[in-house]
């Protein structure tokens, strides 16, 4: 399942959905808001492009790394330090494929997914990656 949401999510539920009898490995990646002297961040997305892009990335990972399943959730809206931003859960027969597939998805998401972060703190605000 792929989801773009303002709400928090449960990694446990994602893992339940990812489990397969023929999968012996499940790898999860959880990205959270880091305290770089900020209070919160605002995330926005071009939803109509984001969903198909994430589906492409998922399909690429499924075939390249022989994954059994992929779950991706990305949050948008206002998030405070420590809150969940993104979670990726991959299942595969063995750990190598699951680790590589999960890594591939987060790296491609960071390059290709139309999502933007604005950091907001006492010293002002800035769009990440737009120096």
């Amino acid at each position: 399942m792929i989801e773009i949401t303002k709400e928090d999510f449960s990694i446990d539920e994602m893992i339940k959905r990812a489990k397969r009898e023929d999968a012996g490995a499940i790898v999860t990646f959880l990205g959270t808001v880091r305290n770089d002297g900020i209070d919160r961040m605002e995330l926005e997305a071009f939803r109509e492009v984001l969903l198909p892009e994430l589906e492409h990335i998922r399909d690429e990972a499924l075939s390249r790394y022989s994954l059994k399943s992929v779950e991706i959730i990305h949050r948008i809206g206002s998030l405070h330090v420590g809150e969940n931003i993104v979670a990726i859960v991959c299942s595969a027969c063995h750990r190598d494929e699951a680790f590589q597939g999960c890594r591939y998805i987060i790296e491609e998401l960071k390059k290709r997914a139309p999502i933007w972060k604005k950091e907001i703190g006492k010293n002002g605000e800035r769009w990440v990656g737009h120096e």
Binding site: E44, L109, K110, K118, H130
Partner: protein, 103 residues
């Protein structure tokens, strides 16, 4: 009178969707009229004339589109200088955004 009728035939509506820093400069989503036959580059020039902040943010001193500006026409990437010469059509959607930073 004749001139007014002619004018109506010569404009078309194009939807602009701007994100992140460009949303703050241009507003999130709006429809603008442009002359029939306008290219993407013509349309960007029109935006720049109307909004100097956009001009400074999107173009360098020589009038070249800055590398970090991304464009999509009808949700497909505009990747080259040549693509900027694509003519727009009534109802086209042009998205403008800075580098992505998800994850």
């Amino acid at each position: 009178m004749g001139h007014e009728v002619n004018f109506e035939w010569c404009v078309m509506l194009v939807k602009v969707r701007a994100f992140a820093s460009f949303r703050e400069i241009l507003g999130g989503e709006k429809e603008l009229d442009v002359e029939e036959g306008s290219t993407i580059r013509d349309f960007l020039d029109k935006l720049a004339i109307a909004n100097t902040r956009f001009k400074d943010e999107a173009f360098d001193e020589s009038g070249r589109l800055r590398d970090y500006v991304s464009l999509m026409k009808n949700r497909k990437r505009i990747d080259s200088e040549e693509d900027l010469l694509t003519k727009l059509k009534e109802g086209d959607e042009l998205a403008i955004f800075p580098p992505v930073s998800g994850g």
